[in-house]
Symmetry: C2
Subunit: 177 residues, 2 copies
């Protein structure tokens, strides 16, 4: 039972969008443009950053759903998702993605902890302004989505399998409300 | 100098909205509906929660601008803003606002730290589902805005006076891009 009266059986953030469609609309618009709009980062890479930040915030709903979306989008290369989230290794990712995930981890902790050296290192590995902008905003926005879902204790399905269909739908159809 | 190339002289998050208007639009829509749309909480109370969370995240741009907006909206009662942010006392606020600020502080730290007792206490002081929802989402969304502004090291005017006009404009005209 969530802390506020939401429709039962609707998982996670979707029950909150239904409780408050006025705020749900811009939140969905943000997820859609940030994870699926134009960016030098692929949608699979952006979903991976979202799952990585959610994992660090211990938000099981966002972590499982965005990990499922990332696995769907990485397709044959989906092992990179579990390598990162379960085995804590980024060895199968590009040096640019490693440098951007380092920045995302800093932002998850506190915006001020990002240093000029972190940015310089990402640039050396090929990241441009938009890569850096999008990484910071994905990490920042999941610092919001995670707190919204957990701060209201919304319903979180327990098993990874429960998120398979959700991840596929997110990867295929996105986040329009 | 911000970490990415933004137009000089435009402060804080507005320089980032100009860099990325595609994400700026839903972010402004969110701020507008969340801080100024229908809610049992007044806009002054919602601006105060935003400034309180930004202060705890040490985000000087968001803290100063939303504190200025709260002072403008509280008008004759503006002392409550400095009581809370500078003197660390909530004694001039209602028991309901105190209980909601307690929840906002928990969300700022981590969504999972909010307990059923925190919610029960807010309800005892008169908070309903929408009060609680809006408080959690304001605290969550400023956990994003703060990280976005500071994670990209955007330009932050140094003096409280620099935010006077900004706060007045936010209080009067809001957040449409």
């Amino acid at each position: 039972m969530a802390y506020i009266k939401v429709e039962e059986g609707i998982p996670g953030i979707r029950s909150l969008f239904k409780f408050s469609p006025e705020t749900g609309k811009p939140l969905c618009d943000l997820a859609e443009v940030l994870l699926r709009g134009p960016s030098p980062l692929s949608s699979s890479e952006r979903e991976l950053i979202a799952a990585f930040v959610s994992n660090r915030n211990n938000c099981m709903f966002c972590m499982n759903s965005h990990a499922a979306a990332a696995r769907f989008l990485f397709d044959e290369d989906k092992q990179v998702v579990d390598d990162l989230l379960k085995n804590q290794t980024a060895d199968s990712l590009s040096p640019k993605m490693k440098a951007l995930l380092w920045i995302a981890g800093k932002v998850q902790s506190n915006g001020k902890s990002v240093t000029p050296e972190d940015i310089e290192n990402a640039r050396k590995e090929g990241a441009n302004d938009t890569d850096i902008h999008d990484t910071v905003l994905i990490a920042a926005s999941f610092s919001m989505f995670n707190r919204y879902v957990d701060g209201l204790d919304s319903y979180t399905p327990a098993n990874e399998e429960d998120y398979l269909e959700m991840g596929k739908r997110m990867g295929q159809k996105g986040y329009h409300i």
